[in-house]
């Protein structure tokens, strides 16, 4: 497309091109400069702070080199916090993507009233994370709705929010139901864009339901799958809000995650330098994970539409 534009522009006089460049760069200036300033303050600032020790009360900053990073390595809490963080990355990205795809296939049927079910799954995405989390806290309170439901079959009550794997699983469920609707919509759009004649041709060739899905539909929507997978990886760090509202990372640091630990160190313990080092670590982690997926994308994605 751009090649065509260029060949049309080529014979034009330099003056017109210069005017075009000035006009274009002028339009780009506000956003570019704005992002440059804020981005520099944000990213440059966090790296700089991570190399210092900030005394909030005295208002002094002292350069300490890599000391804060060494503290991450020796921090005994880190093994719990990191394994929790990775638990959410893996569960929310893998299970989250599979569940979204399964729901999309289920909702792709032609049934009367199917739109009501599509809307139902989308509604939690419209509610703020805080509202969704507070409602779930209400459901999970001791002797609340969930205890009442499992009590009907003679189970429980369970300590839903008192740490351990049960709490992590509950967090994953709350986070997943909150945003899966958006991914379902992305998959539904991709599924409906698969050419019907391809599927019909496969059916004529005698391919069964599963074979048609695996070998015809799946390659066609692979770009959407990878996009959703990547979104879920970066989105998985967002469980922070749930942790803050449901358990405060407790008991102890049992249910804490990296993003919550940054908040706790910076704004509750006033350990700005250490929080900044954790933030750089989180940033590097996000870039590394999305970078890996982006590389894998090249090998796997059959149909490049983006």
């Amino acid at each position: 497309m751009s090649a065509g534009t260029h060949s049309r522009l080529a014979p034009r006089r330099g003056g017109r091109d210069a005017g075009r460049n000035t006009f274009g760069l002028l339009l780009l200036a506000p956003q570019t400069l704005g992002l440059l300033v804020v981005g520099l303050v944000a990213v440059g600032g966090v790296v700089q702070l991570s190399l210092t020790n900030v005394n909030v009360l005295a208002g002094t900053r002292e350069f300490v080199g890599l000391e804060n990073y060494l503290r991450i390595v020796s921090d005994p809490d880190m093994s719990t916090i990191l394994s929790n963080t990775f638990f959410f990355v893996v569960v929310l990205s893998v299970v989250g993507t599979v569940v979204a795809l399964a729901l999309a296939v289920l909702l792709n049927q032609r049934l009367p009233g199917i739109n009501i079910f599509r809307a139902a799954i989308f509604i939690p995405a419209l509610v703020t994370t805080v509202a969704w989390t507070l409602v779930w806290r209400f459901i999970l309170q001791p002797e609340g709705l969930l205890d009442g439901i499992v009590g009907l079959v003679g189970l429980g009550p369970y300590p839903w929010l008192r740490g351990g794997w049960l709490s992590l699983a509950v967090f994953a469920l709350i986070q997943m139901t909150k945003n899966v609707g958006i991914n379902v919509m992305i998959f539904l759009a991709a599924l409906q864009a698969v050419p019907q004649d391809l599927i019909d041709a496969a059916r004529v060739d005698g391919a069964g339901r599963w074979v048609r899905f695996r070998h015809v539909v799946l390659p066609q929507i692979s770009a959407a799958i990878l996009m959703v997978f990547m979104l879920m990886i970066s989105g998985s760090f967002k469980v922070f809000e749930l942790v803050l509202l449901l358990t405060n990372g407790g008991p102890g640091i049992q249910t804490s995650v990296l993003a919550f630990e940054i908040y706790r160190q910076a704004f509750r313990l006033n350990d700005i330098g250490y929080a900044a080092a954790l933030a750089v670590f989180l940033f590097a982690l996000v870039l590394l994970l999305t970078g890996i997926v982006w590389q894998v994308r090249r090998k796997l994605v059959f149909h490049e539409s983006a």
Partner: protein, 284 residues
């Protein structure tokens, strides 16, 4: 088989599908219904076990209590104000940038596009510490400046720019040539010819930006101090009694008030909302 018989067998075959769909839908809608029911109960009924499904008496006064315990009306308007300002700043920078990258394509456009898009990959949780320090240095604590400017420039404008660029790129070049022949200036071509054509994408960008701002919790929690300045998500967490714990019924009433307008917007503009949130899925 006669006609009504066949119809009945089709309907019967659909029963398992509907059953499965209903159970799944309940997982997503159930919490919302439980919120509604809880918002109308008395606190003693809420603490009873096993819980009652529907309130014994509908206590509408819970909704009055919401406004007595906190300046909730003010806080609601605060959220709306911040949301509008974030949308305005985002559109002011993203529309020209999207147009420049989609249609004007000056030198270096490809590199600038990648640079602007990189904002999407900065996790807000990772940069909150230096941004807070900067806001403190500038005297911006307990003001909306950091909430509006940092959010718009760092988080929403890159996504809005991306949505708009995609829209501008797909428009045919003939419009531009015709406008130039008619002697329209570059600025007029952009504002009068192209801008009206991308209205659906502008709607998507607004929906995404408004949703992102309305949802923010960490930022207002960190930047805002006084109760009159708070936005809704932070205010919702404060319906607690220091001794008795959460005032569940009042909190659920406040949460209901915060959820209803968004659901109304969804019912009115379903298509724009879905396209805005999925396009903005880039940063959800």
């Amino acid at each position: 088989m006669s006609q009504p018989d066949r119809r009945r067998s089709v309907a019967l075959r659909r029963v398992p599908s509907y059953l499965l769909l209903s159970i799944i839908a309940l997982l997503f809608i159930g919490p919302i219904l439980w919120m509604l029911s809880g918002s109308l109960k008395s606190i003693s009924e809420i603490l009873r076990y096993p819980p009652t499904i529907l309130p014994e008496t509908f206590r509408w006064e819970n909704y009055v209590q919401v406004f007595a315990l906190q300046p909730f009306g003010r806080q609601f308007l605060n959220s709306v104000l911040v949301m509008v300002l974030v949308c305005v700043v985002t559109l002011i920078v993203a529309i020209p940038a999207g147009y420049a990258l989609g249609r004007v394509r000056p030198v270096g456009a490809a590199a600038i596009f990648v640079a602007l898009l990189s904002g999407i990959f900065i996790p807000p949780e990772a940069v909150i510490v230096p941004l807070f320090q900067t806001a403190a240095d500038l005297g911006w604590i307990d003001t909306y400046w950091p909430l509006v400017l940092f959010t718009a420039l760092l988080s929403t404008a890159p996504v809005a720019m991306f949505i708009l660029r995609q829209a501008f790129v797909t428009l045919p070049a003939e419009f531009e040539e015709a406008a130039t022949l008619d002697g329209a200036s570059r600025g007029r071509t952009m504002l009068q010819i192209f801008l009206p054509l991308v209205r659906p994408s502008i709607a998507s960008a607004i929906v995404f930006t408004a949703w992102f701002s309305w949802n923010q919790f960490l930022e207002p929690l960190v930047y805002l101090r006084s109760q009159e300045m708070l936005t809704v998500p932070v205010a919702l967490t404060l319906f607690e009694d220091p001794l008795a714990g959460p005032r569940w019924n009042i909190q659920m009433a406040a949460t209901t008030i915060s959820v209803l307008p968004v659901l109304l917007v969804f019912l009115v503009a379903q298509r724009h909302v879905v396209s805005g949130l999925t396009a903005g899925g880039l940063k959800s």
